[in-house]
């Protein structure tokens, strides 16, 4: 069995700062991590491989430095890493990203064996659209199972898979055919700590690095900024409300009383509404 897992290297959001004057994101010196949501996809893939045999290939599109995340994935136990990197990919929106990733997955299939399963995370913490997975599936003509909480059965002989999918009002139990694409829900597993052997292997392993041409991209205008139907026209800081917040003065009343007095003064109906609510409990 061959599984491809798409992971993205993202800046560690906890450490991002915005420039107070220019309102731009200060990326310098911000550490990068594997998109946390993608670790659930990776672990699900590794667990299936351990159970059924086969190989896991991790794939990322990003700058050359994204090789760090791929290496990290190898230390968790992935068998192979492919980095898709080219200046033509810069500025890609979802549609252009799915074009590049789908092309690379096709090439991975030709080079290392056709994948039975493709995994993505539910969403990224920077792009945050949850749309790349479904887009890649569509481009590859794969069936898709999104928001998967659990893979309950995998039958490689009959090429079927059964999974629990989170939907708005409950859980759908779905059965579909391989190959398919799965976007994995968060908190559904915990990424293993890779062993010593994996760490050593990862240190020596070569990250397969492909340019757009290497990956078989035929139409460069479908990549990056040029291949993106959406454009960012404006980036701006949110406006303060026209009317400033009333700051509660509690110089001569206990703060709690001062605050409550201010609330009820502002919205006299609130007191009866709260009383009704509080009674309900």
């Amino acid at each position: 069995m061959h599984i491809v897992v798409c992971i993205k290297q993202v800046p560690d959001s906890a450490q991002i700062r915005v420039h107070p004057v220019t309102n731009t994101i200060m990326r310098q010196g911000v550490p990068t991590i594997i998109n946390p949501y993608d670790l659930f996809a990776l672990e699900a893939a590794l667990a299936l491989r351990d159970q059924h045999g086969g190989e896991v290939t991790v794939l990322t599109m990003g700058p050359p430095s994204a090789a760090d995340s791929l290496r990290k994935a190898l230390t968790f136990g992935a068998d192979r890493a492919v980095l898709l990197t080219d200046r033509f990919f810069a500025g890609a929106d979802t549609l252009a990203t799915t074009y590049a990733l789908a092309t690379a997955i096709r090439k991975i299939g030709e080079t290392f064996g056709a994948p039975d399963l493709v995994f993505t995370g539910k969403q990224t913490i920077d792009g945050d659209t949850a749309q790349v997975g479904p887009g890649v599936a569509k481009r590859l003509g794969l069936l898709q199972l999104t928001y998967v909480a659990k893979i309950s059965a995998l039958d490689l002989d009959n090429k079927t898979i059964e999974a629990e999918r989170r939907s708005e009002g409950g859980v759908q139990i779905l059965q579909t055919r391989l190959p398919c694409l799965i976007t994995m829900l968060e908190a559904t597993n915990e990424i293993r700590r890779g062993g010593m052997a994996d760490a050593l292997r990862a240190a020596r392993a070569e990250v397969v690095t492909w340019s757009a041409k290497d990956a078989g991209v035929e139409d460069i205008t479908k990549c990056g900024l040029r291949g993106s139907p959406t454009i960012v026209k404006r980036v701006f800081a949110p406006q303060a409300r026209a009317e400033k917040a009333t700051m509660v003065d509690f110089s001569d009343t206990p703060p709690a009383d001062a605050l409550i007095a201010e609330l009820f003064k502002r919205q006299p109906k609130l007191e009866t509404e709260l009383a009704t609510l509080a009674r309900g409990y």
Binding site: K138, Y147, F236, A256
Partner: protein
């Protein structure tokens, strides 16, 4: 958008793109559509919220607002279409087929792309739910058009383009995204982000039905079963009248109890900022903000929350926002209505006691007499 952070670089490079003319074959694309999401006979409220937003866009563009209803043949789907007229639809497109009883990506993608290709809308809005996102990603890729996810504001520009605004990576910025040379312009919006429009009794209007054109054998994915969530498992956070939330300023999971205690006295729901979920102090269904729940309560009390844009967009629809923060320059005071600069760890218990005293039946009697 997979990389809204590329914004500053992108806007320079895209200036050329902004000048490009809309290709001839897209010029016939007209009208605003809202996908009406229903699962198991229930219309998701986000669809009606989107009808409110869609109505405004359509009026500004001077075009029609259409509801797209996809579902099983029968009462519930017909009812959903009829309801759409009460929420402002000028007409409805309907694909009704027994194969659409359960949501399955293949069948719904085919239904929606077919209707889009046949009747050619300029704007298509969907709810950013598990169903809506699953469907929107497939449909946009099939149509090779742009899709802006999780918008917090929708507007039309002077030239008639959809201006879709969403928070961007980094904690305090918003970006406005356009789909200039492709149609339809697609956007998703999360539940509760747009206000619920008023429902006005209205007779059923024009309904255009469209065939699905599939047989069961064409659809590979089968739904083996469905396990509905137990009601007790659902928190009522998104629909609560009063919400009390805590952030990193509380300093420890033990102190988060203070938030729960105040919420309990107020008969309120409790929530938190994202870092508390990431730290494992609070479960993820309690997160408020862009990647959590959007709330629209009458009263929102935020303790020890700085007010990053991703948090702000989840609470801005609240009638009265109260912020408790030790830092008088915290961004939350930019959008709160009432602020108090003090230590939340000390104020919360005092507030709980003061409310308990004022709201207890005993004290009400006293007020009444």
């Amino acid at each position: 958008m997979s990389e809204p952070t590329k914004a500053p670089a992108a806007s320079a490079g895209s200036r050329a793109a902004t000048k490009k003319e809309l290709p001839e074959h897209f010029k016939s694309y007209k009208h605003v559509w809202v996908f009406i999401e229903q699962e198991r006979g229930q219309v998701h409220p986000v669809s009606w919220e989107l009808m409110g937003a869609g109505r405004k866009l359509a009026d500004k563009l001077n075009v029609e607002l259409a509801a797209v209803v996809i579902g099983p043949e029968g009462e519930s789907t017909a009812q959903a279409a009829a309801e759409a007229f009460c929420y402002g639809a000028d007409l409805a497109y309907m694909v009704a087929d027994p194969l659409l009883t359960d949501y399955r990506n293949e069948a719904y993608t085919k239904a929606l792309t077919d209707v889009v290709n046949t009747y050619q809308p300029e704007i298509l809005l969907l709810g950013a739910t598990t169903l809506g996102r699953d469907l929107a990603g497939s449909v946009a890729t099939t149509l090779l058009t742009g899709l802006t996810a999780d918008c917090t504001e929708l507007d039309v520009d002077t030239d008639g383009s959809l201006a879709a605004t969403r928070p961007t990576f980094g904690g305090s910025l918003l970006c406005t995204i356009y789909t200039l040379n492709y149609r339809p312009q697609m956007a998703t919006v999360r539940p509760r982000v747009m206000p619920m429009p008023e429902r006005v009794e209205h007779p059923v209007g024009r309904i255009i039905t469209h065939p699905l054109g599939l047989v069961e054998d064409d659809i590979v994915t089968k739904v083996l079963s469905f396990l509905p969530d137990r009601d007790s498992a659902k928190s009522n956070l998104a629909f609560a009248d009063v919400v009390v939330a805590g952030g990193l300023g509380l300093g420890s999971p033990e102190n988060f109890q203070l938030v729960r205690q105040l919420a309990s006295v107020l008969g309120a729901e409790y929530g938190c900022s994202r870092p508390l979920v990431q730290k494992g102090w609070v479960t993820s269904d309690r997160q408020i903000g862009q990647t959590g729940k959007t709330i629209r309560p009458k009263l929102y009390i935020a303790a020890g929350i700085s007010g990053a844009i991703q948090h702000r967009v989840g609470v801005e629809g609240s009638d009265l926002i109260v912020a408790i923060n030790t830092d008088k320059n915290a961004p939350i005071f930019e959008f709160a209505h009432v602020g108090i600069v003090t230590d939340a760890i000390r104020l919360l218990p005092a507030l709980t006691e003061a409310f308990r005293a004022r709201l207890s039946p005993h004290s009400r009697d006293r007020i009444a007499s």
